[in-house]
């Protein structure tokens, strides 16, 4: 089976990307709804607007016979959940952008013309997005730590900070940088060849 053109591996990958595109939008909608619900929940619990039939007397929710504070349901307090929503938003938003660019790339591959200037731009945008996601992940994880230390007095003493560098992501970014430049040069050579009479 050929790699490029019609009925090729690229056209199959393109179908897969369309599925991923749909799944990502579904996840984005779920995350958006969860964030809105959590935001409303925080506001309602802070203002005391939630009815007394839901809450027990001391602002606690009764789950399976246990009183659970709104602020620490299953240990997920807002300093964890808010950055987690942000990490999720960045990851899903970035993934949507990457998959959109990949779809455009594979559209071009399926048509059998890989060396276009737009493809080099797509690859460049993909590695820049990946870089953005990776850096924001570190920043938001750091923010989680800062918020946890600020709001939980015992956390700062017991916390075990560890910075994990994902070499596969950084390797992918480096490969994409090289690929983007290869495509840029390929597009330039193709244009030159087309304009050689």
């Amino acid at each position: 089976m050929k790699a490029l053109g019609r009925d090729s591996v690229a056209s199959i990958v393109r179908i897969g990307l369309n599925v991923v595109w749909g799944v990502l939008w579904f996840l984005a909608i779920c995350l958006g709804l969860a964030a809105v619900c959590y935001g409303a929940f925080l506001i309602l619990s802070a203002t005391g607007a939630i009815g007394s039939d839901v809450l027990t007397g001391d602002n606690h929710l009764r789950i399976n016979g246990e009183n659970v504070g709104f602020g620490d349901i299953a240990g997920y307090t807002w300093p964890v959940l808010v950055p987690a929503f942000l990490i999720g938003a960045v990851a899903i938003g970035g993934s949507l952008m990457i998959v959109w660019r990949l779809r455009r790339l594979f559209d071009s591959f399926s048509s059998g013309e890989p060396f276009r200037k737009e493809n080099a731009n797509h690859l460049r945008a993909i590695w820049m997005t990946m870089l953005g996601i990776e850096i924001s992940r570190y920043v938001l994880l750091g923010l989680t730590g800062v918020l946890m230390a600020a709001t939980h007095s015992t956390f700062a003493e017991s916390a075990d900070f560890e910075v994990r560098i994902d070499f596969s992501t950084w390797g992918s970014i480096l490969i994409l940088i090289v690929l983007a430049e290869v495509f840029r040069e390929g597009a330039r050579l193709k244009e030159e060849q087309e304009l050689t009479i």
Binding site: E191, E192, L195, T196, I197
Partner: protein
């Protein structure tokens, strides 16, 4: 680019259309149009040879050099490097 293609002037002198030239040279009309409008990046010796043969002229009559602002900048850069 500083290289100008003066194909339209020669065609006018020879009272020949671009379509006729395309038929005689064996280069597509689209490519000759690219050449005539100065959008071409390069020209093959074989194409130049065919053009000179059909138009009965020298390569210098088809191509001319007119220094552009880029060339002046490049020259200034070369002099600065020396």
């Amino acid at each position: 680019m500083a290289i100008r293609v003066t194909l339209d002037r020669i065609l006018l002198d020879r009272r020949m259309s671009l379509t006729d030239l395309s038929d005689k040279v064996g280069v597509t009309l689209a490519n000759l149009s690219i050449l005539k409008t100065g959008k071409a990046k390069a020209i093959r010796f074989s194409t130049l040879n065919a053009l000179c043969r059909v138009l009965e002229c020298q390569p210098g009559e088809i191509l001319s050099y007119e220094p552009s602002a880029d060339d002046a900048l490049e020259e200034a850069g070369d002099q600065a490097a020396e």
